[in-house]
Symmetry: C2
Subunit: 275 residues, 2 copies
């Protein structure tokens, strides 16, 4: 096995060809007209690849974009330098270039981007999370809810609310004061032997790790529900956890002034996810 | 005077330098983390330049972006080919490049784009508008309301609802059924000698032409109000008008099955705008 590349300079492919830039008339740039996935690559393999590209295609179709054949996306990975091993892989699909204006071009040509970042993600792997509550409230847009699209200004503004390095994540509520997610993660709570996660029918991003955990927990006979959660329900939970495809599942040790000193169910959920 | 360039190929400047592309790690591309203005250039001069760059700076500061000095933006225009005369100018500011993640880099380096499109805009100049009502409902996000930012998927989805070339524009309502704007324009109605336009406190883009018209009409002693409008108020109006910085002000001749055969106040408003 070759040593992991740790160069901080990301590797980029545009439509399978090495390139450091995108055309300035790309609709992803002009309008955020595209979708993406962020996932881990471990020992040269992208984790949960089939689920990732299935969700990418589903999200693309929600905004009227025909995703490329999975074989094309897999083929792009073959053009990454062979020595790349561990890091974060980002897949982006945009509606490509076209004439000026919001109207999607009649003949759409989807543009594919692959970004590989070898910056190590393992440093904080074993630590529990310290979390704050964001003051930004997510807006509702059922047409875009659940989709990982390129319109991410709410996340940027929410992530701008803190810079303290000991705070790992911020919780996002919607304007009805429902808790929806973290800025870059999905939320789960464990309470009275039930696994609960926010419904994402009005806002939020439905991550692949979230989907996997919901499925695996149901298969294990756990009582699972997607529901509305307020902050009180989160604070009273036996355990609070956050998931995304880069960090996997991690427990919250502290949320503002509330502490959860010991794991309850999280080690078992991590085991199911990694099985 | 030199002949107008009619090449369909837009002219591009990135940070004042001719370039057809942007770095793929630009936060405008990755997150829609930026703001823009679209304006007309007539006989080599950008229309309402000072108002445009003032609004660009104001929008930038709303998302925590320090806009360049106006002299820098004016300086960029000096790098456009001298023979460019009439067309559409787009100014884009993004939060530049940075490490992976939503958090804005500590040392922000704003990236400037200038796009000049010489495609003629005058062809439909004198015609009245035919308008439809979009089924997409705008979501509320007061933190982004009024700003012309790069998160424009709602506009893209709304504009995808029709392709008939005789329909010029679609009206957008919010999920409280308030009429907010057109997909690419602001809305005004004239009713009982009053000029009304939707409040943009929860969604919508506050255009420079809208701002100019509000100010000029007030100066002329017109009773002007930014208020909540429902569809009935629009349909019962004496005249309905749409504005943006490319087409200026144009009257609506038809909205779904409702017709307004004759102008009422629009010729005078056009006169004020062009004075």
């Amino acid at each position: 096995m070759t040593a992991a590349v740790t160069s901080a300079q990301p590797v980029l492919l545009v439509d399978g060809v090495p390139s450091a830039s995108v055309p300035a008339d790309d609709r992803g740039f002009l309008y955020g007209d595209g979708v993406f996935r962020t996932l881990r690559m471990v020992a040269g393999k992208p984790l949960w690849w089939l689920e990732q590209i299935a969700k990418l295609s589903e999200d693309a179709s929600r905004i009227g974009l025909a995703a490329p054949d999975p074989a094309v996306l897999s083929g792009d990975l073959q053009h990454l330098p062979a020595q790349l091993s561990d890091g974060v892989l980002k897949l982006i699909l945009t509606r490509g270039s076209g004439p000026r204006g919001y109207q999607p071009p009649a003949a759409q040509s989807v543009r594919r981007l692959v970004v590989f970042d070898a910056t190590p993600v393992s440093s904080q792997q074993s630590s529990d999370l310290w979390v704050r509550i964001c003051s930004l409230r997510l807006g509702w847009q059922p047409r875009l809810a659940g989709i990982k699209h390129l319109n991410r200004l709410e996340n940027v503004l929410a992530r701008s609310e803190w810079s303290a390095p000991d705070i790992h994540e911020g919780l996002l509520l919607d304007h009805a004061e429902r808790v929806i997610s973290g800025v870059m993660s999905n939320l789960f709570i464990w309470h009275c032997n039930r696994l609960l996660t926010p419904r994402l029918d009005q806002c939020g991003v439905a991550g692949v790790t979230r989907g996997r955990l919901l499925r695996l927990a149901r298969e294990q006979g756990v009582d699972v529900e997607e529901t509305d959660l307020n902050m009180q329900a989160v604070l009273e939970a036996d355990e609070v956890m956050l998931t995304n495809s880069v960090m996997g599942l991690r427990r919250v040790a502290r949320l503002e002034s509330k502490n959860w000193p010991d794991p309850v169910i999280s080690p078992r959920l991590v085991e199911w996810l990694n099985a």
